[in-house]
Amino acid sequence: MMRKALAGLIVLLLGIPAVSHAELTIEITGGNADAVSIAIAPFTWAGSGGTPPTADFAQIISSDLKRSGRFSPSPSIQQPKAPDYSEPANLQDFRSAGIQYLVVGRLINRSGGYQAEFKLYNTGDSQLLLNEAVTAPTRDQRFAAHHIADLVYEKLTGERGAFATRIAYVVASGNSRALKVADSDGHNAKTILASNEPILSPAWSPDGKRLAYVSFETRRPAIYVQELASGNRSKLADFPGLNGAPAWSPDGSRLALTLSKDGSPDIYVMDMGSRQLRRLTFSDSIDTEPTWSPDGQWIAFTSDRGGKPQVYRVSASGGSPQRLTFEGSYNADASWSPDGKSIALISRSRGDQVAILDLESRGMQTISTGSLNESPSYAPNGSMVVYAAAGGVLSVVAVDYDVQQRLAAQSGEVRDPAWSPFLVKRKP
């Protein structure tokens, strides 16, 4: 008998004033024939007094599981009537309808918001697989639903879910720019910084609490670090020439960046405590776009030292760089996968597509569509990649499945996405 556990949902709330902002619109395309069938029954309101949550928990969980490519959730109107939450589930109807797993849930009041309780059943053998509860603060109900999707996903796939995460991105409209952070499904967009000068290259700190980014607000590029909860920020790099491409080391103690203060753009590493700089590359070519290996040992970067931009890697403690890409005349903007085994990059020979380079076999596989794609960024569990696509939309693609989600702003171009680290702390 599974003990009912209260999953400590500790959300790193972005304490940003709730300004009304257009949500990103969402379109999911593609499908996976081998996807696991599941039904998320509508969550019932079991509160005493007060008002039920506005978020549609079942719908949010269904959408999350669907865009992972690994699940095929039944639309609610095609589901058999769900059993009452507290009654023993009669799963026969679901099994007969070809639905392999069932989630039932209910919502009750709790100080400061709600508690969402849910159960996950295998309809085949009627086994209760999960019986948990998460807290859902009133102002962040959707995030609690994403957390439930994470728990269901992990139980059924063995891989940690990454739906309760956020994506930072830039919206451009004419000369105006807004750095925003939204939930991983594009909802709850909040503005972090607005400017009439360029903003680019947001990068999450590994604790999910800060963003580093490049802003031209002084009419030249400088790197800032902004704490999301307080909005406090500081200028981190404002050297003569280029200050760009910030990337946090996995332990958050260092920041890789591109500076041209000593001539051509080179990769430097700044110690976040002492602000001391260490220069890592010494070419008279362009070296930029650093990304750390998850073990912190390596930094991959773009360099045209061989004549054309290619991806190289160098030891984070210095040394001579090794070239990683050899296919075509333009490979750039690498993003190291969370498991360290591959690198997502932009490949010109494939039409500016997002390709994944397997570091062991050195094979490349295209995962994007269209053209003029930029800025690939991995979800923290490595299962999905977000990138900026032509036409000013973001595309979220499941790495191993033919499922894609497009996120578009109601006005302006969306670009420069950066997927956050995991934001929900795990139970000890």
Binding site: P198, L242, T258, S264, T302, D333, L372, E374, S375, R415
Partner: protein
């Protein structure tokens, strides 16, 4: 020294190199006569004046070499700046192809090439500030070769 040379010497054809010599070695008054005299491989007098007035020079894809036909444009500005002592801010720009941060670096490389050329023509380094906007400030919002060609540029702001 590959991409960082001032002049696209003989990269495309020997005639371009010849034009480059006649332009850069010619008069520094920048009235357009030399450019026009460069014939089919340079700007005619009217175009050259237009380019001088626009304070803009253009680049090939993924290149920061100054095109030979643009040398008289820069000669004209160098002459003005050297005599006036005015400050100039050189903005480097790119087309939308290629990645954003790489384009920031490429735009700076373009602006620096122009900077070095102006200095070789008597402008003091203390007069010059360089900034790259990468692909962030296109002159033409289109998504085709015509727009891209207009966006690969360096602009002399003074």
């Amino acid at each position: 020294m590959k991409r960082r040379s001032f002049i696209a010497l003989a990269l495309t054809s020997p005639l371009v190199a010849l034009t480059g010599c006649s332009s850069s070695g010619g008069s520094r008054d920048g009235d357009g006569a030399d450019g026009a005299g460069a014939g089919a491989y340079g700007y005619d007098a009217a175009t050259l004046q237009e380019r001088i007035d626009s304070k803009t020079v253009y680049f090939e894809f993924d290149s920061s070499n100054i095109r030979s036909e643009d040398l008289p444009v820069l000669d004209a500005h160098a002459s003005r700046l050297a005599s006036s002592g005015d400050r100039v801010r050189i903005e480097g720009h790119c087309d939308e192809r290629g990645t954003r941060e790489y384009n920031l670096a490429l735009g700076e490389s373009r602006a620096n090439t122009v900077r070095r050329y102006l200095m070789s023509r008597g402008v003091s380094s203390s007069q010059i500030e360089v900034v790259s906007y990468g692909e962030e400030r296109p002159a033409d919002a289109g998504h085709n070769e015509t727009a891209w060609a207009r966006n690969r540029r360096a602009y002399l702001d003074y």
